[in-house]
Amino acid sequence: MLINILIISPFVGAILLGFLYLLRHKLKFSQGLFATLGMSAPIVSLICAGVLFFGLKEPLNVTLFNWIGVGEFSINIGFYLDSLSLLMGFFVTFLAALIHFYSIGYMNGEDGFGKFFAYMNLFLGSMLVLVFASNPLVMFVGWEGVGACSYLLIAFYFESKDNVKAGNKAFIVNRVGDFGFVIGLATLYLAVGNLGFDYESLSQNANLIPANLAMIIGICFICGALAKSAQIPLYTWLPDAMAGPTPISALIHAATMVTAGVYMIVRFDFLYANLGSLLEGLALLGAFGALFAGIIATKATDIKKILAYSTMSQLGYMFAGLAFSAQASMYHLFTHGFFKALLFLGAGAVIIALHHEQNIFKMGNLRSQKMLFYPMLFGTLAICGVFPFAGFFSKDALILGAFLSGNYLIFGILLFTAGLTSYYMFRLFFLVFYSKNQAPKVHKVPFSMIFVNVILSVFALLGGFVAVFLDLAHVDLGAEIIGGIVSLGVAFVGIFIAYKKFYNYQNRAESLGKFESVVANKFYIDEIYDFVFVKSLKNLSVIFKEIFDEKILAPLVNLVANLVKIFGVIYTKITQNGLANSYAFYMVLMIAIFVLYVKVEL
């Protein structure tokens, strides 16, 4: 029962808010009404999730009703509550409630206030469906729901063409991955679906899938995960998605939606348990993605885009971790959710305080603003993995896990990326709070934003204790301490370099060398994609339109049409003369033919 309320309340909230928003001009609703209504759904869901999380001990499979039943094909709407989905659901509702509250301050006075909360509630509902789904098809419904909401929210400021383009980009790139997901789902169903398509029966029957087929299904699902989690090669949408309002960036593109890819791979662990080589390939891709995004982030200038690349980089860590310890990946997912939400919301506070300035080289000397300074400091320390912040434990678990499982290449990349992370994060931090650049005059930041940032700061500090809820494999304490010291050392090297370069920086832009300008242009990947996929398809279409269609097909079709027309004209000129006896003649002729036919047949 609780699970029904948990899932339904955000949808009800979204629908109500949507209708009220449509009627806002007629009935003069106040912003407070929208805020109250928008807040109620996540709070109800949070309470339900909390009760379920702390109350439920055994995995529970709740079936609500039969959704599709055609012959043997039968899909139920149902929810699966085990420790994984409950922890994830609790985490999502918790973050969502905080970010909803933050948004009240951030979106204050905007025309689309009600619409924003309707979308946010809808997003929360879709995310919960994704997390709690009892079978892959229902998960796919949630999966597409969050995709649609992210499209709506990225393009929230739809007056600007660039924002709409960014929304489209996110949507289309995600469709590429979804193709893989859908193909995987269909293949999985054809393989073992007739024995039951929910996770419980699938995990029992997973060993019946032939090895090659399992490999194909695994690759298809990974394809979907790569798009949703913004990994190479389908990552290009994430930096552009920063066009949306900052709470969106925090909720969707850092804490919940992009982690859905990792969650999905963990959810299908029964499938991947036998596909070690595939996961290792994915780990390599993830590690390389982490490094790649880190390199781009070192030269980015937009505060939110730096955070976007760091998200991509941290998600790469999670994918890398899936090969040796899914639990460690989930651990990093949760801690990352806390401090990335904090970083984004802190950045949002900075942006609001500075009149929507997003270029970090045009900020500076903000350390006197304590309410901006400390959240960002905590978040930055957490993502850099400085003891005792949350990121330290989870990142260390991943790096040490890579080392102990013998993936030295991945270990090396991850360790180096950890240093790189602290470099670019502290580059941002020092530029914003210490550099000698003159920032614009500082605004007052609304209370709700400060409040949420403070809470999240606490969680960034203490989030490591999520480990209590995960049964992480413990290795030798000595090895853990050595690993911790090594990664801490790497982090401090990165921080030190950033300190040297940017502590007293005073230039409105960074001077760029040849390689650096390539990095600053994101390795021209967007341009390459544009050239390879967009331009080439466009040119092909133009060729088809102008040569194939206009020169060959259209004349051919017109020729046929004209021939028919000419014959038709000739025929009617002869036959349709209006004379009764000639019509009678046709009639007699037809009857004669018919009689002959009958005669011959008999």
Binding site: V569, T572, K573, Q576, N577, G578, L579, A580, N581, A584, F585, V588
Partner: protein, 102 residues
């Protein structure tokens, strides 16, 4: 005997059809239609005789009544058409042709 009657009926009917198809004078066409009707009536009558049944005779009576009605109506129509065109040539009566179908 029956075959003879039927042969006469077929001959009458074919004369009627050819008359309808080939004659130009609207009166001849009209009379040819009457011939076809009479051929049909003859077939009914001969089968009625053959089967010793009165059903065919009833049909013949109906046909005669129909032919009478048709004759009065058709003649009136011809008079009207002649007033319009001052001609009895059937080829001048194609006013109902679909002018668009060209």
């Amino acid at each position: 005997m029956l075959n003879l009657y039927l042969s006469v009926a077929i001959i009458l009917f074919v004369i009627g059809v050819v008359g309808v198809l080939a004659r130009k004078n609207i009166f001849s066409v009209f009379m040819s239609v009457e011939l076809m009707i009479n051929a049909a009536a003859l077939v009914f009558a001969s089968f009625a005789r053959q089967n010793l049944s009165f059903d065919g005779h009833a049909a013949v009576m109906l046909i005669i009544a129909l032919a009478a009605a048709e004759a009065s109506f058709g003649l009136a129509l011809i008079v009207l058409l002649y007033k319009q065109k001052s001609s009895l040539n059937i080829e001048s009566f194609n006013e109902l042709r679909d002018g668009n179908a060209n």
